[in-house]
């Protein structure tokens, strides 16, 4: 980090950085309105579908006695997985002093907050009687992984929000000091309240650094547990396909893949939309591509263990399940997820040619779609094989297919997550200004200055 000595140069550079990074907040055009319109339309339709589901019961979904965890739970696992990237990028890489990842932290936190918040909402969507939600806490069983999952999801959401907020405080002060007429009054008032009257003296910075560090360390065990506990929801049963000892790390590795892909897509969207080419640079995409290869290989390794070892033994029930996945009705989905969503991206991203921003983003989109279908394969095929043979089972118990209501509600979750991300991007800078400026060599003392009005 080169210190810029000249105050003139520092002020000039800071002005440019602030101008660029607040563009997302200031920008207001037809496209923004259209985007909000699309999101809110889908959310409205989803809520309407949810209303039908509450009125008529879960019978409106494709879930029956055999498959009682359908697309909702697969979607839940997907969202929990995506949220884990917050812990990977804004904590682990930060603590390891990986400097290139710093501008990405806030994007990762946005993804984490949106995903984990929606994960909680999806569970409520999946409930037949959401009015009994409180019973989970009143009558919860401490030995049940479901209670652990609820606790850990809420803890992770809180930590993610705090980890988003803490480095935001100095930024809010910058916004409070520098912005004015171009923003509506309520926004300025919000900045002023949330910035806690930040002065920017050494003591305050010390507290911020300290608190951030505490949170970054805390989020590691909590982040690991959120997805490990989610995997235990499955692994703690005796069902073929779920009864696996490596389910925890298998889920965590898969979560990194999905999360990194989601962050790459969001980074590209910001870069394009808010003209942040100089901030989300080519090197960031290249590094994220490499990170995707690394976590992809890790996930591939767990996949080999998860499928090869039971596939080698082909124990009775396990064998039926695996054959159904390998060569049966889920074969097409399984192999396309494994090859297109994991193996091919790993191979392509090994080449520098494919680690350019656009191609990394396109590959990430495929990876993210693959990750969603992978959760579908983890949750549903296992349930289609009941433990006990039952006579006169209705035909629709045997095979699960989501209904249009389920698809509406699932689309709702995606749109609501995007809405949360969009609102966060519209309210707060997508890159931590003060950290970025400091990285560029600007001294902290310039942050609290009021710019000269020209």
């Amino acid at each position: 980090m080169n210190k810029i000595e000249s105050p003139e140069e520092s002020r000039k550079l800071l002005d440019k950085i602030v101008f660029d990074l607040t563009r997302s907040i200031v920008k207001k055009d037809e496209l923004t309105r259209f985007w909000f319109f699309i999101l809110i339309m889908f959310i409205g339709v989803g809520l309407w579908g949810w209303g039908i589901q509450i009125k008529n019961g879960l019978g409106v979904t494709g879930m029956r006695d055999y498959v009682s965890w359908g697309m909702y739970i697969a979607n839940f696992v997907f969202f929990v997985a995506v949220s884990l990237v917050g812990f990977l990028i804004s904590s682990t890489l930060h603590l390891l002093n990986v400097s290139w990842s710093k501008p990405i932290s806030r994007v990762a936190e946005q993804v984490a907050i949106a995903a984990v918040a929606l994960a909680g909402i999806i569970i409520v969507n999946d409930m037949g009687r959401p009015d009994r939600l409180l019973n989970v806490f009143i009558h919860g069983r401490f030995a049940s992984p479901i209670l652990w999952d609820v606790s850990v999801v809420m803890t992770y959401l809180t930590i993610s929000v705090l980890l988003f907020y803490l480095p935001l405080i100095p930024d809010l002060a910058i916004l409070r000091n520098r912005m004015g007429d171009e923003l509506p009054k309520w926004k300025m008032k919000m900045y002023s309240i949330l910035s806690l009257g930040w002065k920017g003296d050494a003591k305050q910075y010390k507290i911020i650094y300290h608190a951030m560090r505490v949170l970054m360390i805390l989020i590691i065990p909590v982040g690991l547990s959120i997805h490990t506990v989610t995997s235990w929801l499955f692994a703690a049963t005796l069902r073929a396909g779920w009864d696996s000892t490596i389910m925890g790390p298998y889920f965590v590795a898969g979560a990194f893949v999905a999360g990194v892909a989601a962050v790459v897509i969001l980074m590209y969207a910001y870069r394009l939309r808010y003209g942040l080419k100089d901030y989300f640079e080519d090197i960031h995409f290249s590094q994220m591509g490499k990170l995707l290869v690394f976590v992809g290989l890790l996930y591939l390794y767990f996949n080999v263990n998860e499928f090869l070892v039971p596939g080698y033994k082909m124990r009775a029930a396990e064998g039926v399940h695996l054959l159904n996945i390998f060569t049966g009705s889920y074969a097409a989905m399984f192999w396309s997820v494994q090859i297109l969503g994991l193996i091919l991206p790993i191979i392509l991203l090994l080449f520098k040619f494919f680690r350019k921003p656009l191609s990394v983003t396109l590959i990430s989109i495929v990876v993210l779609i693959g990750a969603w279908f992978k959760r579908f394969i983890i949750v549903i095929p296992t349930l289609e094989h009941p433990f006990l043979p039952v006579q006169n089972v209705p035909a629709d118990f045997h095979h699960y297919a989501p209904t249009s209501i389920e698809i509406m509600i699932t689309l709702f979750s995606f749109m609501a997550a995007l809405l949360i991300i969009t609102i966060l991007a519209k309210l707060f800078p997508v890159i931590t200004i003060w950290e970025y400026a400091e990285e560029k060599g600007i001294d902290k003392k310039y942050f609290s200055e009021q710019p000269k009005k020209s």
Binding site: F142, S151, L196, Q204, I207
Partner: protein, 293 residues
């Protein structure tokens, strides 16, 4: 491969079941007209009935009641046309060789037993005057009591004769059962004396409920039309062992039985995380206070 084999087996089963339904049960010509070596008399019909109740009734049901099992094809009633259209030789051949769900009885019953059965079935042939005519059940009344300390059940049975006078039911078997969840469990039978009474000492090893209470059920045989008597529960049995369904050392459990280490781990982890969060929130408050200075 296994899946294909399974399919094959299912297909074969379905095909053979269809054949059973559609095809007639053909008996070789030389077997059709074999004569029944045992004479058609009351004694032999009674012998046949005994065997029928033991070996055949479970599927074919009571004669004339058409209450056989719902199998495919359905086991016909003894009085039905399907059954009675057979010659003696055909009946003998069919019960000996079996077909589909009908077992072959030549390995279970001796040849003479099977001919007794033929005699029993013949008793219901509409063209033959039946030898064994079952009397309609007699209306009887039954009272019973139990002595909890001696475990003795005392029974008293009577009936109304044709003149309407009350008479004691003598030399009649009374069934002593114990009520269970899915029906009555027979524990013994006792004959009434000339006063129409009988007593039965229940064995010591009857298993009762959790506290050893047993409900005794007393009934008369099929020849009588009498309400069965269910006695008040008495403490005469061995208390039922209620196995602890959740063993010690099992991690999953109710909140009452949760292993302490698990509860502490859960509360410790969650509590630790939230205390740390609280600490961070306090830091934020500190920032606010520093600004105010």
């Amino acid at each position: 491969m296994i899946k294909k084999l399974n399919l094959l087996v299912v297909a074969v089963l379905i095909l053979s079941a269809q054949q059973v339904i559609s095809q007639e049960w053909l008996v070789p010509a030389d077997k059709q007209n074999v004569k029944n070596p045992s004479e058609f008399n009351l004694e032999n019909v009674k012998k046949g009935k005994e065997i029928y109740i033991r070996e055949c009734k479970s599927c074919h049901g009571d004669a004339g009641k058409h209450n056989g099992l719902a199998l495919v094809p359905p086991p016909p009633d003894v009085t039905s046309k399907i059954m009675q259209d057979n010659t003696d030789g055909e009946l003998f051949y069919k019960m000996s060789t079996g077909k589909g769900v009908m077992p072959k009885f030549d390995v279970i019953l001796s040849e003479s037993d099977r001919w007794f059965l033929v005699n029993y079935i013949k008793n219901y042939n509409p063209e033959i005057t039946p030898l064994l005519v079952e009397a309609p059940p007699v209306k009887a009344n039954l009272t019973a009591s139990i002595d909890g300390s001696t475990r003795v059940v005392t029974v008293s049975a009577g009936f109304q004769n044709k003149k309407g006078e009350k008479e004691n039911l003598t030399e009649t078997p009374v069934n002593i059962c114990v009520e269970r969840a899915f029906g009555d469990l027979p524990v013994g039978q006792v004959l009434t004396d000339d006063k129409g009474t009988a007593s039965f000492k229940l064995p010591e090893n009857v298993i009762g409920d959790e506290e050893g209470f047993v409900k005794v059920v007393v009934s008369l045989g099929e020849d009588f039309e009498a309400k069965k008597v269910t006695l008040e529960k008495a403490k005469i049995g061995i208390p039922k062992e209620t196995p602890q369904l959740i063993r010690k050392g099992v991690i999953w459990s109710t909140n009452e039985n949760i292993p302490l280490w698990m509860l502490l781990s859960y509360l410790g982890a969650i509590g630790g995380a939230w205390l740390t969060i609280l600490y961070v929130v306090i830091q934020i408050v500190k920032i606010k206070k520093l600004s105010a200075k």
